[in-house]
Each structure stands twice: as structure tokens, then as C-alpha cells.
């Protein structure tokens, strides 16, 4: 009996590596600490009422952001472990298998559990405020989206200590990811972690599409919308078409593994190339899904801090839309060397290069927004300025990669690694950081410390170039991606060492940002005006942090940058007492949290093939759906008295 138990435990828990025991201990201690704090300060009720059950888009946004920063930490630690292993030839810090797990989880976490939720966090914070709405179109669904993402991410992360991590790369190509070559549960964790959070992403895509199309305040035509909201629309439309492809692809892979089907094995007439096509039909649009909102943020920031209207607004909207459509016709550039005919390769090479055109146009428009403006170098602006050269070079190497015959040389090499990190970090991460600094006062009512921010900024930026520029050269030296070790013979050592040093710089930069946040919570400059940056758009017309109903009276706008116009015309943003009416709001609900937890249980059951657990999980999900469909009384009114109190506290009532 005891032996059986021991045997089970040694398969169930990942064993044998001191790093993993270390992680076990760290995870255990953190959990214990959190639980202790919650008990000690008697915060369970508060946590449940204010956060776990909330349907307020601003709080959901904050939870997204916290979760994604935690994932940035995890993915960053993975990155540092890899760079440590590669710093010099023949290091025995990580075993091959362990290295493979780490780059797989690093890639998956960074894209799906860091970039996506950070993006949704910013959507949640800014979109309803920018378009003058009180909430998103489906607040309950919004909460469900968050919790599905959250439990999906947790399921994926669990694989590190239970059962074993996936090790077939972040896109899990078969036949490597099939049962014969990846017999452990790692790939199942991968599939179910992504499936759960994918449902959340798709739902968010729907939610924000409808929100933007239906919930704009009076007078705001589509062509009056701030560019960030436009970029969210472009990104969400892309999500609507891309994510179902991902869901189906992973479902087929799971059926292969779980039920012995052969969708992606050649053996009984399936085809692994089909998987590669399908996964990139999602995967390529995915990179535009995450970068388009960053473009939107840059547009807001550049215009605000140049004290100027955005240059070429129509061009900007047009290029966003073109990029999101063209993004669907480029996926083959990820496997030019897989034997498509010359004409097919030529077609996809041209479509890929074509995307550089609207992207380039955007850069010119940003430049000319600054031209004849008055540029203030604030923290959001710094990250935006750093983005321009980084993305220019990243875009240029992207065009180089698009030249199909040349790509036969770059493909799967470190040149590619350098390119996509340049666009993902320089484009996406810098953009979201700019957004975070920009909307931070709106979220929390204080600004982030500038001095610490400058440290973080320079460490990140210098570290970035030191880390990734050498990797272009490593690609030219024949170094392929995903190798866990190499010898002295190829001369790859010096550049790898430099690259690892750069990675450490970025790591320290991140620590400075954590410090910056903690420090500013206490000492940060408070924002009493609601408009700390002299903004142009509606979110700056309300107090910081925004009251739960956002706008006491929904604004009526006359064109683009309406808040700026009002300030120019000397109008204030005071509320008239007689305009106040009770505000209709959705009630909090525990169902999204509970239902997602049941999905987690089901996902865990699927991962290990435990029928009883699958049944419990799915029954719980069904129960939650029933409970929701029979629940009445899901809304309430905020009484005028309460609104009056809140608004006069901010001195906004006349």
C-alpha cells in the first residue's frame, strides 16, 4: 500500500532536480504566506466580495495585469535559466530535457499567459472609459473570460511540479508532440492550459467587439474613436477568426493523443503538415493580435505628449485594418522550407513584405505627430520613443526573413530568435509598458516614481540590445534555435556570453519596476485632477481612480479628441446635480470563478485521463451554467444619493 503510494507520488510529482525542489519549496512558502496574511488580516471576505466575484471591468483589468506581471516573472526566470545554460559552451547547468521544457514553457507563457492577459488588462482598463461607457457589453462574460484565463494559466504552470512540463516547443509540432514521442502528461497540460484560457480570449474578443460597436457614448462616431479603441477593434476582429482555429487544432491533437486518432500522423492517412498549417493560421494572426493594441497605445501616447492631434488619423485606421486582414495571408512564411511550391512560397513572401507597408506608414505618422509639436519626455513617452528604433530594425529584419530564398538560411536559426524578440519585446512589451505607465494613474490614482522608472528603462533598453543584437550574428554563424549546449568549435561562445549578460540587465530592469511600483504605492505623486497628462480623450475627464460607474452622467461628444476641445474652449468637467439619475449596474457573481475552477478540475482530469475527475469537473460546469440561467436579480441601481456623495468628494458637483 505504502509502496504503491510512493510509486504513484514519484510519477505524479516531478522529482530528481534540485531546481524543481527549490521551486516546490518556493511555491509552498508563497501559498502559505498568502493564506496566512488573508487569515491574519481577516481578508477572506474582502477578497471574495471585492475581487473574486467582481464584474467591474476596471477591477478585472487590474487582476489581468497582476496575473500577467507574475507570468512575466515566471517567463523571465525561464529566460534567465536558458541564457545561463547557453552563456558558455558545454555547461552542465540544465539537462537537455529540462532545457527543452523551459523554452517550451517560456514561449507559451510569454505569448499566451503574459502578453495576452496584459493586453486584455489594458483593454479592460481603457476601452470603456475611452468610449464613454459604463461597462463592457457583457460584464458577466468578462469575469468568466478572466477566470478561464487564470485557471488555464494555473493548470499550465502546475505541470512544472506535477506530472512534468511539455517539451515539444511552444507550438507543439507533431509528430514530436504525439504520444509516441511525448508520452508524458506535459503535452496534455499544454493543450488544456491553452484551451481553457483560449475560451476566455475568444469571449473577450466578442465582448470588446460588441462593446466598441454598440456602447459608444452619444455623438461618438466610429471615426471619432480614439486610436487605441480602433486598435482594440482590429485586434478583436482578428481574435474572432483566429482563436477558433487554435481551439480546433489543439482539440484534434488531443484526440490523437487521448483516443489514438491519426489526424496528424502520416501513419493512417493523417498529416503533420496539416497541423503546422493550422497552428500558424492561428499563430501568425496571433502576433498581430498582440501588436495592434500596442500600436494603438503608441498613437495615444505620441499625440498626448506632443500636444498635437495624431497625424493622418484616417491612414492610421486604414493601416490597422489592412494589417489585421493581411495578417491572415502570411502564415506560410513560418515554413517556407516545408516543400510548398515555388509559386506558393512567392505568394506568401510578397504578402508578408506587404505588411511592412502599412506598418511603415504608421511609423511615419507617429513621427509627423511629433513634428511641429511640443514633446514631453514622460515615462510612457520614453517607452514609445524606445519602441521606434527597436521596431524599425525588427521590422527590417522581418522583411529580410520574408525574402523566401534568404529565409532558407535564417529559418530556425538564432537570427529568427533575435528578430521575433525584437518585435515582441520592442513592439509588444514596450508598448504595454507604455500603456501601463500611461493609464496607471487612472487605475490607482497615483503616478509611478520617475527616478526608479528611468533606471528600469535604461536597464531594459541597454540589456535588450546587448542581449539580442549578438543573436543576429549567431544566426549567421550557423547556431540553430533550441540547442541546449554547443562546443567551442564554432566560435559561438563570446556572443552567447554577451547575450546572457544583456538578459541579466533586463532582469534587473524588471526588479527595478517591481521596486518602482512598491515604492510609488507609498510615495508616488497622487493624481487629484483625474487628468495628470493633459490628455485628449474621455478617460481623463473623470476622477482617478474612476468611480465604479465611470461616468456620473454619460458625456456627449462632438468629434475626435473631444475632451481636449472642451479644455481649449475653457469648459470644465463638472456635473450638474439635476442631471444625476440612478445608475443601472450588474451585480457581482461567484459563478465565473466557480465555473472556471470546475473547468480546471476537468482539465486536470483530461490531462491525467482520470474519468471520475472529468465527470466531476464537467458536472460542476453544467451546474454553474444552470445556476446562471436560473439566477434572476442580476442587477441593481446605484442611488443618486451615493453618486452625489462620490462626485462631491472629488469636487465635481455644481
Amino acid at each position: 500500500m505504502l509502496d504503491n503510494l510512493k510509486d504513484f507520488a514519484s510519477h505524479f510529482f516531478v522529482t530528481g532536480d534540485p531546481l524543481i525542489y527549490g521551486a516546490d519549496v518556493a511555491i509552498g512558502l508563497t501559498m502559505a504566506a498568502i493564506i496566512f496574511v488573508l487569515f491574519y488580516f481577516k481578508k477572506w471576505g474582502w477578497l471574495w466580495r471585492e475581487w473574486l466575484t467582481t464584474v467591474d471591468h476596471k477591477k478585472i483589468g487590474i487582476m489581468y495585469i497582476i496575473a500577467s506581471l507574475l507570468m512575466l516573472f515566471r517567463g523571465g526566470v525561464d529566460a534567465l535559466l536558458m541564457r545561463a545554460q547557453l552563456a558558455l559552451p558545454n555547461i552542465h547547468f540544465l539537462q537537455s530535457e529540462h532545457y527543452n521544457e523551459i523554452f517550451t514553457t517560456h514561449g507559451t507563457i510569454m505569448i499566451l499567459f503574459m502578453a495576452m492577459p496584459l493586453m486584455f488588462g489594458l483593454f479592460n482598463i481603457a476601452v470603456p472609459l475611452q468610449i464613454g461607457a459604463r461597462d463592457v457589453a457583457y460584464p458577466f462574460l468578462n469575469a468568466l473570460s478572466f477566470w478561464m484565463f487564470f485557471f488555464g494559466a494555473m493548470l499550465f504552470n502546475l505541470s512544472f511540479v506535477i506530472g512534468g512540463s511539455p517539451a515539444a516547443g511552444w507550438l507543439a509540432y507533431p509528430p514530436l508532440s504525439e504520444l509516441t514521442t511525448s508520452p508524458g502528461v506535459g503535452e496534455n497540460f499544454y493543450i488544456w492550459g491553452i484551451q481553457l484560457s483560449g475560451v476566455g480570449s475568444l469571449a473577450s474578443g466578442i465582448n470588446f467587439t460588441v462593446t466598441i460597436l454598440k456602447m459608444r457614448t452619444k455623438g461618438m462616431k466610429l471615426m471619432d474613436m480614439p486610436l487605441f479603441s480602433w486598435s482594440v477593434l482590429a485586434s478583436c476582429l482578428t481574435i474572432l477568426l483566429a482563436f477558433p482555429v487554435l481551439t480546433v487544432t489543439l482539440a484534434l491533437l488531443f484526440i490523437d493523443r487521448f483516443a489514438g486518432a491519426h489526424f496528424f500522423t502520416m501513419l493512417h492517412g493523417g498529416n503533420p503538415m496539416m497541423y503546422v498549417n493550422l497552428i500558424w493560421m492561428w499563430g501568425h494572426p496571433e502576433v498581430y493580435i498582440v501588436v495592434l493594441p500596442a500600436f494603438g497605445i503608441y498613437s495615444e501616447v505620441v499625440s498626448t505628449f506632443s500636444k498635437k492631434k495624431i497625424f493622418g488619423y484616417k491612414s492610421m485606421v486604414f493601416s490597422l485594418m489592412i494589417i489585421s486582414v493581411l495578417g491572415y495571408f502570411t502564415w506560410v512564411h513560418h515554413f517556407f522550407t516545408m516543400g510548398a511550391s515555388a509559386n506558393v512560397n512567392a505568394f506568401f513572401a510578397i504578402t508578408t513584405m506587404a505588411i511592412a507597408i502599412p506598418t511603415g506608414v504608421k511609423i511615419f505618422n507617429w513621427l509627423f505627430t511629433m513634428f511641429r509639436g511640443r514633446i514631453r519626455i514622460t515615462q510612457p513617452m520614453l517607452w514609445t520613443l524606445a519602441f521606434i528604433p527597436t521596431f524599425l530594425v525588427g521590422g527590417a529584419t522581418g522583411v529580410m526573413l520574408a525574402v523566401a530564398p534568404a529565409d532558407y538560411q535564417y529559418h530556425n536559426s538564432y537570427f529568427l530568435i533575435a528578430h521575433f524578440h525584437q518585435t515582441l519585446i520592442g513592439g509588444v512589451v514596450f508598448g504595454y509598458l507604455a500603456g501601463l505607465y500611461y493609464w496607471w494613474p487612472k487605475m490607482f490614482g497615483f503616478k509611478l516614481n520617475v527616478k526608479l522608472g528611468l533606471w528600469a528603462f535604461w536597464l531594459w533598453n541597454i540589456g535588450f540590445y546587448v542581449c539580442f543584437m549578438p543573436q543576429y550574428a549567431l544566426g549567421f554563424m550557423g547556431m540553430t534555435r533550441r540547442v541546449y549546449t554547443y562546443g567551442w568549435d564554432m566560435g559561438w561562445a563570446p556572443l552567447n556570453l554577451i547575450s546572457s549578460i544583456g538578459a541579466v540587465f533586463m532582469g534587473i530592469g524588471f526588479i527595478f519596476q517591481v521596486w518602482q511600483i512598491l515604492y510609488s504605492i507609498k510615495y508616488g505623486e497622487r493624481d487629484t485632477t483625474g487628468d495628470p497628462w493633459d490628455g485628449h480623450t474621455l478617460e481623463w475627464s473623470i476622477p482617478s481612480p474612476a468611480p465604479e460607474y465611470n461616468f456620473a452622467v454619460l458625456p456627449e461628444v462632438k468629434g475626435r479628441d473631444d475632451f481636449w476641445r472642451r479644455k481649449e474652449e475653457g469648459l470644465d468637467n463638472k456635473i450638474k446635480e439635476k442631471d444625476l439619475k440612478p445608475i443601472h449596474m450588474p451585480k457581482n457573481s461567484g459563478i465565473p470563478f466557480i465555473m472556471s475552477a470546475f473547468w480546471f478540475v476537468a482539465g486536470f482530469g483530461f490531462t491525467f485521463g482520470w474519468t471520475w475527475m472529468i465527470v466531476i469537473g464537467l458536472a460542476g460546469v453544467a451546474g454553474c451554467m444552470l445556476a446562471r440561467s436560473f439566477s434572476k436579480n442580476n442587477d441593481y441601481y446605484i442611488p443618486v444619493e451615493q453618486i452625489r456623495k462620490t462626485e462631491s468628494k472629488y469636487g465635481r458637483l455644481v
Binding site: S315, M353, R372, I375, L392, A396, M490
Partner: protein
């Protein structure tokens, strides 16, 4: 004051790292992609240079404009530069910056299409090509010479100055066959036979590796491509024929097992082994046109 010193220290460290990068990394004999030893690699290199040049035409001026604008339009007291907050539109400018990239991409596109087609044909026409069949295994490379009848593991000899048609497949996870100095890579896939033309101008030893991740032993999937004058190549074949053992079906089964391997030579190999492995992996579902370089005529019905 102390803080500033530290900040400067970081900047200095960055500069040193950059200098080190340019001094250590760029000795050109190690940048093997930029140092091709055959016509295929050269075609690709020319495209690389062309694309760098065309991109530089945009990137460098834009960086210069960025710096200029940042200096000139800073929000400083006393800045006399023109300030036009409402100026947000100019047809002329927009036409210019939609136009220039279109032209540049147009030029690059033409050369790309040409290049794609060039590489599907043997690099020189007046010499009879040789065929070598490549199978990627977990975690080793097997090479077979259908005309010579010999086989090797983890190294391959080729005649210099002769176009080589590599026929590629995998018996295990998909890999990618890459010899940077001779030309770009091509995937090896189970159940399929892909074709890749390469050629070495000069005798020499060229580095080759697997480029697509296949699991634990992937990092060790290296091989040398040894190019020799035709006469020496013939001697080598003869030597292998005379001295190396024959590969049996058992030997192949052992090679197929997961694990690393040393270099090996075989004087012969089981009849039609390459074809059989493709069929065994499902190749019968994919009637591939034997004369085509790609999969465009592949029959996927079954």
C-alpha cells in the same frame, strides 16, 4: 552624484559589450552564412545583401528624422520651433510614405520571386548531378548513395563542382537539413521525400546540422559535409565498398532507436530502404511526383 555614476557605469558597460561584439563576433570566417562556398548559398547571400540595402534606405533616414524631431520639438521653455497642434493631415506627405515602401517592396518582391524559382533547379546544367538520400533519425543522420550503393552516418562526402540533389525524409520527428555554406535548409518529414539542390565549388569540409527541434538529442545532430574532387570522391566510394561492413535490416533498426551515434560507413544497405521507410511512415498516401522539387503535385486523397 553617486547614482549618476552608476547610471553612467551601465551605459559604459553597454558600450563595452557592443565593442566586444563587433570585435569578437564579426571575424568573417565564422559568419558562415555570409561566406558561401557554392552557387546556392551565393544566390541566397545576394538576396540577403539586397534586402539589407533596401531596408537601410528606409531605416537610416527615419532614425535620423527621429533624432532631429526629438531635438527640435522638445517642450522646453524658449523653444522657438514652429508649433502647429491642429496640423494633422497632408496628402502630399501621405502619398510619399505610402509610395516609397510600395516601390521598395515591389523591387524586393521581383527578386524574391526570381530567387524562389532559381533554387528549384540544379545550380549548373552542364554536369551530371548526383543524388544522395538523407534520413533524419532520433538523433542521427543517415546518408545513402543510390548510384554508388554505399551509406554513411553523421557525415557525407560529395564531389566538388557537381550539383547534389538531396532527397530528404525522416523516420521519427520532423527535422530540417541545413548546410549553411552550401545553401539554405529544407525540412525532413516522415512519409515524404523532399528535394534540395546544393553544390560545393571547392573541396572542403562544411558544417551541417539539424535545424528543427526533435527532442533530447537534437543539439548533437551535427554532421560534416566533405567535398572532394571527383576522382578522390570515387576513391572514397571504392574504399568504403572495400572496407566497410554492409548495413543489414537489423543495423537499421538499431540506428532508428533513440540515441546518439558516431560516424559510420556502410558498403551497402538493404534494397530500397529509403522508399520503404517513406511508405512505412504513410508515404503511400502521398503520391508525390518524383520529378518535382516540391509538394505541389502531391496527391493527398486516400
Amino acid at each position: 552624484m553617486k547614482k549618476r555614476g552608476l547610471l553612467n557605469g551601465i551605459k559604459a558597460a553597454g558600450l563595452v559589450a557592443f565593442a566586444a561584439f563587433f570585435l569578437s563576433g564579426c571575424s568573417s570566417d565564422q559568419l558562415i552564412v555570409l561566406d558561401p562556398k557554392g552557387p546556392v548559398g551565393r544566390t541566397e547571400l545576394h538576396l540577403i545583401y539586397l534586402s539589407v540595402l533596401l531596408c537601410a534606405i528606409v531605416v537610416i533616414p527615419v532614425l535620423a528624422i527621429l533624432v532631429y524631431i526629438l531635438v527640435r520639438y522638445r517642450d522646453k521653455p524658449g523653444n522657438k520651433a514652429l508649433y502647429q497642434p491642429k496640423w494633422d493631415d497632408s496628402k502630399v506627405l501621405e502619398v510619399i510614405w505610402w509610395g516609397i515602401p510600395i516601390v521598395i517592396i515591389g523591387i524586393l518582391g521581383v527578386y524574391t520571386v526570381k530567387g524562389v524559382h532559381t533554387l528549384t533547379k540544379p545550380p549548373v546544367k552542364n554536369v551530371n548531378p548526383i543524388t544522395i538520400q538523407v534520413t533524419s533519425l532520433d538523433w542521427k543522420w543517415l546518408f545513402e548513395y543510390p548510384d554508388q550503393g554505399v551509406a554513411t552516418v553523421n557525415y557525407v562526402e560529395i564531389p566538388a563542382g557537381v550539383p547534389v540533389q538531396f532527397e530528404l525524409t525522416a523516420d521519427g520527428p520532423m527535422n530540417s537539413f541545413w548546410v549553411p555554406q552550401l545553401g539554405g535548409q529544407e525540412y525532413t518529414m516522415p512519409g515524404m521525400a523532399m528535394r534540395l539542390w546544393l553544390q560545393a565549388d571547392q573541396p572542403g569540409t562544411y558544417f551541417g546540422s539539424g535545424a528543427n527541434f526533435t527532442g533530447e538529442g537534437f543539439a548533437h545532430m551535427r554532421f560534416n559535409v566533405i567535398a572532394k574532387p571527383q576522382s578522390e570522391f570515387n576513391q572514397w566510394v571504392k574504399h568504403v565498398k572495400d572496407t566497410a561492413p554492409a548495413m543489414t535490416n537489423d543495423d537499421y533498426a538499431k540506428l532508428k532507436k533513440q540515441g546518439l551515434s558516431h560516424v559510420k560507413s556502410y558498403s551497402s544497405y538493404p534494397e530500397a530502404r529509403f522508399r520503404k521507410v517513406i511508405d512505412k511512415n504513410g508515404g503511400q498516401y502521398m503520391n508525390m511526383d518524383q520529378n518535382k522539387n516540391d509538394m505541389s503535385n502531391m496527391d493527398m486523397k486516400h
